[in-house]
Symmetry: C2
Subunit: 223 residues, 2 copies
């Protein structure tokens, strides 16, 4: 026998509000109806509606200001990941799968990156600046921050926004590996980043792919 659970009101409502935003093609800052209005529309109490909107607000999907009303918010991954990063279940995600996923994602964008680098020199400039800052960094925290930024910049350089968003998500789950990397090993990381940029700028996508794969799979030892 299956335990069927009565679907919760607020989840349905939250879903409907999202649908409403999409259907009305609302963008950041656009107004939504008032709480009372929405509650009446959905046929629920204002309180239940509130629980739904508060959850959405927590995610940044809507914003709510006293005296103004509800507006569509600007969701950012940072806000979500901030609340997730502490959760112990993140430690249960299969590390090998995370590594394989990242390899596929990041090596996959390299052809796109190489192509765009030829057309826009500022991309190479940006990556090289990051490598330099990496080289002169001295503490773990800075290294980690720069490593994340390097890989995000790489994804951004592909121009494929969906993959950038997904990449940010993977990074959250990857956090714990980075924290266990030792000082001497970060030095290798610098050189690795350097070689990736060099290969890309030379147009040698295959070499960049091999180096990047090695760079990410390096974390396997830490499993």
């Amino acid at each position: 026998m299956q335990t069927l659970r009565r679907p919760k009101v607020r989840d349905q409502v939250a879903y409907q509000i999202q649908q409403y935003i999409v259907a009305q093609k609302l963008g950041s800052g656009d107004r939504l109806p008032t709480e009372s209005k929405l509650a009446e529309t959905f046929g629920i109490s204002r309180l239940s509606l509130r629980e739904a909107t508060k959850a959405l607000e927590f995610l940044g999907i809507v914003e709510s200001k006293a005296g103004v009303g509800l507006t569509v918010g600007r969701i950012d991954m940072g806000r979500i990941t901030e609340h997730l990063s502490f959760h112990s279940d993140l430690l249960d995600a299969d590390p090998q799968q995370l590594i394989d996923s990242r390899v596929i994602l990041e090596t996959g964008v390299l052809p796109h990156v190489a192509r765009r680098m030829k057309a826009d020199s500022s991309i190479e400039q940006q990556l090289r600046t990051l490598v330099d800052r990496f080289r002169s960094a001295r503490d773990l925290k800075t290294w980690i921050a720069l490593d994340i930024e390097f890989h995000r910049t790489l994804l951004e350089a592909s121009g494929l926004k969906p993959l950038v968003a997904f990449g940010e998500l993977l990074h959250v789950f990857f956090q714990r590996f980075r924290e266990s990397v030792k000082k001497a090993e970060w030095k290798d990381g610098v050189e690795s980043h350097q070689r990736i940029v060099d290969s890309l700028s030379a147009g040698d996508v295959a070499a960049a792919t091999a180096e990047l794969r090695k760079h990410i799979e390096f974390h396997q030892e830490r499993i």
Copy 2:
């Protein structure tokens, strides 16, 4: 002058609940104090506390069941990608980016799929069954459903759960292309799927990759 906003009660409370979970070293399924207890502890009304817990529940950080109480939730990537669908980068993503992202994602998993197919014959069986059903289908709705299932099965066959979750998200945004595909063109799709499975089962990853790329990029004409 900066507009300083009074920090909202529920945000503080949400934060404190998270701190509590960490401090008590609670894991998935562990019990939290009751709503009344927590409200009293934090010195707020039960309602305000509820808004905080509902928001956390929405994220999957806590679970709440009537008659039981609050427990620490079980987080999974799927739940998060659901909310990712509102990420502005995805909402405004242009079609070409969606296509490129899908190509990277799906061709990227093929080596993994081929490897696992050798070890587990049920994977090939499952894919072939889908192709057959595809062949005997006669209406647009069925075709679309089967196409989605085929590609999802392909991703699942890689065993990389994070990518499966992300793939499903991309499919939502791909919907509009599929609906504009004509009847005659679906026939090509069947053969395309057939060739992909054949190549994979023969261990020819390169051929499968080329075919899959062609299959997805076919949608470019529809932009």
